[in-house]
């Protein structure tokens, strides 16, 4: 009974992480805004910035991976491999989120010392959607940290709770 709730908890967490990563990808891809001042027209897309492209690619990989692991049977030997892959995926998520946040912060506040002006004033809806995508990425990251601890517990039993 305990094992069933554990397995169900793991599945729910992974499905939630899959949804969060997928949401982050979709929110960032559909963020596109055109702003025009005088005769100049500026189109802001996520692909203008390399960090956002990396964020989209990383979260897409994570959502595909979580979808595949959802179908892994319980007694399979691949769970040891899943621990390693979970660690890699968590690192991928943190690095992509951290890069995207760093670049988005420059876009929002600018950098007075480098002479870079903030762009959020001209494309506010774009900025809001990017913020939403980053929050979804953060949720996926937190869920994956829990999942990592869960996978380790599943494979290793470090507190020796299971009787052999």
């Amino acid at each position: 009974m305990v094992k069933l709730t554990q397995r169900l908890g793991g599945l729910v967490l992974r499905f939630a992480a899959f949804c969060a990563a997928l949401g982050a990808v979709i929110a960032m891809i559909t963020s596109r805004e055109r702003s025009s001042f005088f005769v100049l027209s500026l189109v802001a897309k996520y692909s203008d910035l390399a960090a956002f492209k990396y964020f989209v690619i990383a979260n897409a990989i994570v959502s595909v991976y979580s979808f595949l692991v959802l179908f892994l049977p319980k007694e399979s030997l691949l769970w040891k491999f899943v621990v390693v892959l979970d660690l890699m995926v968590t690192m991928l998520l943190t690095s992509s989120l951290s890069a995207a946040v760093a670049v988005a912060q420059v876009g929002k506040r600018g950098n007075a010392n480098a002479g870079w002006l903030p762009i959020c004033g001209q494309v506010p809806r774009f900025c809001d959607q990017i913020t939403g995508a980053l929050i979804a990425g953060l949720v996926a990251l937190v869920l994956y940290v829990f999942l990592l601890i869960f996978s380790i517990h599943h494979v290793v039993d470090p507190f020796l709770l299971r009787k052999s």
Binding site: D48, L49, K80, S98, G107, G115, P158, R162
Partner: protein, 200 residues
């Protein structure tokens, strides 16, 4: 008798030596990255405008504190090198404690957390540095590196050291997790270990 419990904790097993070596390199890499980025500063006098025939010069400084991503980079690398230093000290001076399950688990988890931290810091810094090097036409952000070449070069060196630190921290986490696996396998079987097997 002594074969079971102390073979994991002893100072002459292969995984102990491997872990110590990897940790020393990771400590040096993250410390080097933190120091090089923290001392990164360049001052230059540039011509900013010309009124008639008189050029107006301004003295501009490029410091790492100007960019929040670099500040996070320095702080995260300092934290990771401090963690590695602590773990090295723990490994050298108290090998007896290591066979308890919670101890090995917390070392593995801390290693993973620090690996993730260093990777996040290095990545954020690299993307912001790429913005500084190439600029961005869409957002009308100018390049910084053509005017402050030494600043950019030192920053690039710090980034390379940090990425070496990331790879080393991943290896350290891998070895810690395998020690955790070995430790729990050793104690979850109730047979007494007859032969002292070396940790693979």
């Amino acid at each position: 008798m002594a074969g079971g419990k102390t073979v994991l904790a002893g100072g002459n097993t292969k995984s102990w030596k491997l872990l110590l070596g990897l940790r020393i390199f990771a400590f040096m890499a993250t410390l080097a990255a933190a120091i090089v980025m923290a001392l990164n500063k360049e001052t230059k006098t540039l011509v900013v405008a010309t009124i008639g025939t008189v050029p107006i010069k301004a003295t501009l400084t490029a410091k790492f504190q100007h960019t929040p991503a670099f500040v996070f980079f320095v702080i995260a690398n300092v934290m990771a090198s401090f963690h590695n230093l602590l773990m090295i000290a723990l490994q050298i001076f108290s090998p007896k404690l290591e066979h308890k399950g919670l101890h090995v688990l917390s070392i593995a988890i801390l290693d993973m957390l620090n690996a993730t931290l260093v990777s996040a810091a290095a990545n954020a810094a690299v993307f912001v540095a790429e913005l500084g090097k190439n600029g961005n036409k869409h957002a009308k952000w100018n390049k910084v590196c053509d005017r402050f070449a030494t600043y950019c070069d030192h920053g690039a060196g710090a980034l390379i050291a940090a990425f070496a630190g990331v790879i080393l921290m991943i290896l350290v986490s891998g070895v810690s997790i395998s020690r955790l696996l070995f430790n729990s396998n050793k104690f979850s079987t109730t047979k007494a270990p007859a032969t002292a097997t070396d940790v693979p």
